[in-house]
Every structure is written in C-alpha cells, then in structure tokens.
Symmetry: C2
C-alpha cells in the first residue's frame, strides 16, 4: 500500500533540524495521527513524547535506542521507540522515507 | 483551512534538489492531484509539465516566470506557471511551505 486513503493531511509541514527531517501530519477518521516524512543524509537525535513506531517506506537507516546497540531498519521493517525517550538515527546516501505511527 | 480532508496521501515523498524541496502527493476523490511541500532556503529552477498554481501556506518566496520580472508571493497568495515552462524560485531565511495545484 503506497498511500493512506480517506485521511486528512496538513498543508504545512513539520520541519526539524534545518530541514534534515520534513514531515506532514496525516489524520485518520478515528482521530489517530501518523506522519509521513523524509530524513536526508544526517546523524540526528530525536526525542519522543508519545511512544512511536518508525516504519521504513524507502531507503534505510541505522538507529540506536537508549541503552541499546545500533541496528538497521530497511524497507518493510519498523522499530518501536518508547515514550519520553530518545533515539539516534543515521541516514547515509539516499533519503530515508518513513511513516511514523503514534501508539 | 489548514488541511485537506478526505484525500489519499503518498507514503513516499518526492525529493528534489538534494532535499531542498520535499513534497508529498495528495489525491482527491475526483482523481485530481496536488502536492504539499516545503522548499528550504535555496535558489532553484523548476520545470513544469502540466500548468500549475503555487499557493503559499507559510513563509514567502520570490519567483520569476520565464520572460518576467521577479515577484514576491506570501501567505495566502499564489502564482500560476504555464505548462512546459520553468520558473526560478528563491527562498531565504525560513522554509517556504506550499500547495501545488495542477491545472
């Protein structure tokens, strides 16, 4: 499934880290939200409020949860990040396209 | 209206100019498409296939259509670009958030 159907999408993007990460917010009929975004080649650290699941749409990344080792996440894979936490993400070469699911 | 309702949105972004422009495609129930995107501070030249209308959602840009002078487009304003043409766009300071309507 290459798209989300029957949703609302924000016209204004979320721009983080001087544009190294750009996403748009998607809202579903049941009120839940996700974001569709891109991370350009960079090494970034994100803080989480709510728990979230990062799903790779295209490209790949390396990521490190707090207290864990670096792992890789490719297309069709995902990783979960606890709430009130943070994770490091490394994107090299091609842009990393993702869907972020909020738990 | 800060969002498009009852649409489909692509999970994968369109990434142009090494990420200086990132957009997601939005499809409406009638089959028409728009894109919601961001241009980071840069001077870029875009080529058009179909005619398009660029609408400013946040920030501002300067633009120049072929054979015309530079003009400014701020929030709530828009400009039309003919098909099979090109335009220069200059974004300085803050990211430029836009909706691109395809005619």
């Amino acid at each position: 499934m290459s798209q989300f159907d029957h949703v609302a999408v924000s016209k204004k993007a979320n721009v983080y880290f001087d544009g190294k990460c750009v996403s748009h917010t998607v809202q579903f009929a049941d009120g839940t939200k996700k974001s569709v975004g891109v991370i350009l080649p960079a090494n970034l650290t994100f803080n989480t409020g709510a728990p979230e699941i990062m799903e790779t749409v295209a490209g790949r990344c390396r990521y490190r949860l707090q207290g864990e080792d670096w792992k890789t996440c490719g297309v069709g894979e995902q990783f979960s990040v606890p709430g009130n936490s943070q994770f490091d993400i490394e994107v090299a070469g091609e842009p990393y396209h993702y869907v972020c699911h909020f738990a």
